[in-house]
Symmetry: none
DNA sequence: TATGAATGAGGGTTCATTCAT
DNA sequence: GATGAATGAACCCTCATTCAT
């Protein structure tokens, strides 16, 4: 059948199918046969290009990490006003995860399966974000009574939680909006909640306290 | 070898080992042989007691769900002051997850592997919590400019995130406290952040706005 | 549950269930669990009474052989006219097989599975029948140009074949009679065919030949 | 070990061994390990080529059905005189079954195990034969006082019975001819019996009756 | 007599991987 | 680059049988 002899396009095809399969079933739950069937490329050839299943998994993860990083970076680059960088980044992350759960799911799988490749990429990202929060605190843009790590946790944690549970919410709480509408609504609420949380103590409040 | 002939204790032994194994490696990643080796009970016997691997998994999940529910209920029962129920529940959940990640991990696995047993138990729990948040809003104990779902997401999401990433934080941010200390510190910070987030608009703030 | 402590009735219950199961699925295809489930008696107890699965199978076969022998003997005993013994026997066999195929099926299984218990009982029966055919030939009641074995084969073979294929005939040849009616019709035709086949050469035919 | 890398020959080898094994022990009684050992091909590879044990069984049956059909068709094609087609077919079937009981046994297994693949092929064959018997009756070559189905049963039934019991006959009736001789003798007797049975009523007999 | 706990072997099947073509 | 034949280990599960109770 497939005799195109184009290694690169073959690899890309495999990576696409593998990403979906790994996202759906994790590393252990995905067999090369599944990927092979999904993209019409014999498992022999898959192994020829990627050495081993584990290596293929790693490449999928690296691909995803790079893609995600790019999305985040582009978002902060797009922000003209420097004060809006944080906001833009947040929105970009939210939208990226909302639209395609592959990254979110594979990142979860990787965590559970102790596959560290993705984890490390995420760790670097987190460290960068923590640094930015600290800067915001220094510039009086974030409440400095909380540690950067704590604020970060309050920021990203809900995003993860939302992506994972939004459908369940819709079902069990009988919310009647469409998934898309629900998502947009939450995004706005989320931004407002984050702003309330981050808002530094107002002077008059500080006075009140005294 | 094993000649105890006590079905109940055998089942308990298996359940304990299975919980650990499933938490560590998920359903697909756990083989009966692993469990068998971990608890010294032949896989034939495991199947004799639990019919199938899937059923064993389900029972592990049911066990966990019941255990967690009990912890939560006991916590809210212990609270003397009615206003503190929410706080107590939050602390109990935080501590339960912090001490033993089995529940958290298996719940994640179940989500990823589309095993619905645990999911449904969680869905019921979430619905109950959303109801409580709504009541808090009615009684003026929570900011009613946000939807209950949104507040809930901002509450539980960070908990999940913390449990999952605390070690990574310690490593990449070079935090020098012990894991236990770090955990206690975060708990306090977390409570304070939640309180800030939930705090209803003060009247004078409302005035300021106007 | 079952605490009647009546070994004999237990054995009988097991034998009944086992006969059906073995008839349906053969020796290899029947598991003790199937029998156990069918009659509500634990497989431990089944083995306690019958030593082994193989022995249980043998007992089922012996039961069947004895039962069949009795039917045949009673038939020939009922025949008042000595000349009708053969006919009665034939009819009895036909009816026994037609009503309950357990004997027929288990006899087939035994043949295929090289389980000799039933085979030997059948062999003795066949030898007896061959002897009777020889006597009929001596008394001028059967065509003596054919060997007893050949006549016997022409007599019993069709019976077996009919029992096995009657349903298939009904289906593929679109015969519209009820199974019971079809069976009765064939029985009569069969008797007539056998009589034609057995009929000794008439004298005038012999003359014609000369 | 096996490094031939010739899929077709491998499949043929497996089919040969499988045919024997299934004929000997039936579907349930045959394990892939048995076949694997018999032909020196690992069960993994067997499954690679045949997908499943059940599918392998089906292919064995299809092979046999095709082979048998060919034998039958060739026999009737060989007959020069049109009146001898029936006879030739009968002889061919008799010889095919006598020489190799694989077809006969597997057909029996299939009947007992309710595996319909072979059954249907046989059903078609039987329907065709019934049609031919009817034609013979129309052309005055077969006694039309009997139904085609009845005549067919009297024809094929004894063949089956003979193949199954000839050895038993030899043993219990102390026949001293060789198996081959016995077989040839029976074939001739069988043909003569069939001819007597099929012979239409002679006119003078009809007269005698009147 | 009766149960069911316990075992160990073997069942069919899937799997990642190797290798000849 | 591409296929699919071939392997062997591991998978879940079923089985007949033993044995403590």
């Amino acid at each position: 059948m497939r005799k195109e002899r184009d290694g690169e396009s073959t690899k890309a095809t495999v990576l696409r199918a593998a990403r979906q399969a790994f996202a759906d079933h994790g590393f252990a739950g995905t067999s090369l046969a599944m990927i092979s069937q999904a993209c019409g490329i014999s498992d022999g050839l898959i192994l020829h290009h990627f050495k081993s299943k584990e290596n293929l998994y790693r490449m999928v993860q690296e691909d995803l990490a790079a893609e995600y990083l790019q999305v985040i970076n582009q978002a902060s680059a797009r922000a003209q006003d420097e004060r809006q960088i944080a906001l833009q980044t947040l929105r970009a992350a939210f939208q990226y995860w909302s639209e395609d759960t592959a990254y979110y799911r594979i990142s979860l799988w990787a965590y559970l399966e102790n596959q560290s490749a993705l984890i490390e990429s995420e760790a670097r990202l987190t460290a960068g974000l923590a640094e930015k929060v600290k800067e915001m605190q220094i510039h009086g843009q974030a409440d400095d009574r909380f540690s950067p790590v704590a604020l970060l946790t309050m920021t990203i944690g809900p995003l993860h939680f939302w992506v994972r549970h939004r459908e369940e919410f819709r079902r069990t709480l009988h919310l009647d909006a469409s998934p898309e509408q629900l998502n947009r609504d939450f995004e706005e609420e989320f931004i407002r909640m984050i702003m309330k949380l981050y808002q530094p103590l107002l002077e008059d409040q500080a006075d009140n306290k005294a």
